[in-house]
Amino acid sequence: MGKQINVSLIGNPNTGKTSVFNQLTGLNQQVGNYPGITVEKKEGVCKLPRGLKAHILDLPGTYSLNASSLDENVVIELLLNKNDRDFPDVAVVVSDVENLKRNLLLFTQIKDLEIPTILVINMADRMVRKGITLDIGILEAKLNTKIALVSARKNTGIEELKEMILNYRQISTEPCLHASIMDPEYFERLRKAFPNQSLYKLWLVITQDVNFGNVNRHSLDNGNSFHTKSNSDLKRLQQKETILRYQFINGLLKEGLKVDLKSATDLRIRLDRILTHRVWGYVIFFMVLLIIFQAIYNWSSYPMDFIDTTFASLSEWTRNIMPAGPFTNLISEGIIPGLGGIVIFIPQIAFLFFFISLLEESGYMSRVVFLMDRIMRRFGLSGKSVVPLVSGTACAIPAVMAARNIENWKERLITILVVPFTTCSARLPVYLIIIALVIPDESFLGFNLQGLTLMILYLIGFGTALVSAWILNKILNIKSKSYFVIEMPNYKLPMVKNVAINVVEKTKSFVLGAGKIILAISIILWVLASYGPGDGFNNAEEIVTSKYNPEQEPETNLEEKIASYKLEHSYIGILGKAIEPAVTPLGYDWKIGIAIVSSFAAREVFVGTLATIYSVGSDEEETIKNRMAAEVNPILGGPLFTFASGISLLLFYAFAMQCMSTLAIVKKETNTWKWPILQLVIMSAFAYLVALIAFQVLK
């Protein structure tokens, strides 16, 4: 096997680039991150004829080589760096037959870089319905390239594309349009100053600074007599470049493309009349949301119950077959329940990603952005903030990343800062168990009180996000160029393969990411709870037995008493006692305190922590619930979990910033620790205050 051919897939958003990628690679793909940034890096291997292979890189969608976001910048940095491991032997530009004009802009830019470039015209199956005819011969001649007419949906043209990739050496590297025509005198000077460089590449390096700060163009100036232009001159030249390119493309398409408008039937117009309607649009959007939430909770309860019982019996099983000892205990009491705590979220996360990917694939998400922009702007957000806020109900991590396509930095920052208020799926187990404990299972006006409480908690989450966005908008003094452009793509039937791959990939990265933390925490907790210093821990058995009165209590009670005495004198017990004064005013005891502290790593460890601390040995909710119901308040007497302490706990979890991974991702996305630390301090202080007031008022 020889060297693999490096292929970069490039294209505008909504051209079906990812579908082409999926058709080329099948399941032979992996998603990672570009080093140092959180932009998703999708790569895969494609089998070519004659036993050769191609390494395919699916680059983020971009409208041009003038980057205006981190995602787009990845494309340029790769194309400008010949030494990059992934630098393409051949670039494949994917375009959509219906938007050929706009898509060709990017193509002509890439062609100017003197890289062999293949043009894929995708969605060829729609040509007949739209009355489009193409003259491939003319287009290939004028664009100096090979064209593959592809339908990723119908899986046609893919083999021809593979053949072209295989023979990439035959493709001309001659630009189809020389950028230098936009200012011959300037480019001539440029050529003299850097004789051995591609002119367009130089131009891109020079202009990157105008739109985006990451590339240092001063490296060009050093030790050279060459003087570049002012930023506004450069910007004007970029606009001139765009206009020139469009002129070229218009001339080209006049010959190569014919559209018979009579045979075009437009589904878009009819659908948009309803879906973006000023009344019906909103009604439909809220119905869609309602259906999604209903489906997530109803459908995922079955697999979740199954996972729950499976892990409980797995724990039991390991305990039985492995020799007794600390190692077995670590596995059966620490690791397995810890893993169960991650796996149990898979159904909900997968369903949520499923729906979000349906909304995005179909083109509906852009309509939602359009509908919501004006409303969200009142709160200092953008219409594009709807996507992060909706995804935030699954997990704040992908939601924070989804804020990336908000152009305005202030709107994007506010979105990132308030997203953690939305009720993510990690809060759900906490909510469910507390609600089951303190809210009666009764009906009120035909609504189940427990269900109603859960809904109120979700509304509190969204409400707080909006109110804090409004406040942030007032106090943050950030000047940023405000503009908002969103493409309204054609409606498309989502492709099963794309949705399935998306769900699998997203779920996998959630499980692996969150999984590591939960696993680590559960091991640490287990160690802290299983060992302790001094007599209190090591001689727990004798101490408790000496106080034990066999006539009053049954024998099982004794074992439990020893266990809880041991726990109280373990490392974690000592820690818990130390923080007890801080949590008592909120109505909690030291065990809840420990659960809260460990929840700062990730909220979902709350139930698992209580399970470990209450030494029930199993994560099954009913048993934990019974134990919790039986807990006595050490100061006030009476049950520990009352209406007052329960509500206080619910509110604490609604507001507190308890998720290390979210903090880490916010740091990455904002490039400073300032914002995540502010989030942590302000949200948690607010949570403490609200919980304190709630308990003191209600008790």
Partner: protein
């Protein structure tokens, strides 16, 4: 008063004349919003903001404040 994209009625069409170059984001140009191109108002959200446009076959939505910067001629 200058006539701009923001003044279009739903279904009405115009030709883009010119705009204040420094204020228009490059991205809008790249998406096809160029002098000489046909622009049609497809739909507006409440308060006529944002506006959903069809510019020479390219469908996109922009805010009213941006639409006010793009001068047109009615046809």
């Amino acid at each position: 008063m200058k006539l701009t994209v923001a003044h279009l009625q739903r279904g009405q069409r115009g030709i883009i004349k010119e705009f204040i170059v420094d204020k228009i984001p490059l991205k809008l140009l790249e998406m096809g919003c160029l002098p000489g191109n046909l622009v049609e108002l497809v739909q507006t959200a409440p308060f006529r903001d944002p506006m959903y446009l069809n510019i020479n076959g390219s469908h996109l939505a922009i805010r009213k404040e941006t639409a006010l910067l793009i001068e047109i001629e009615l046809i």
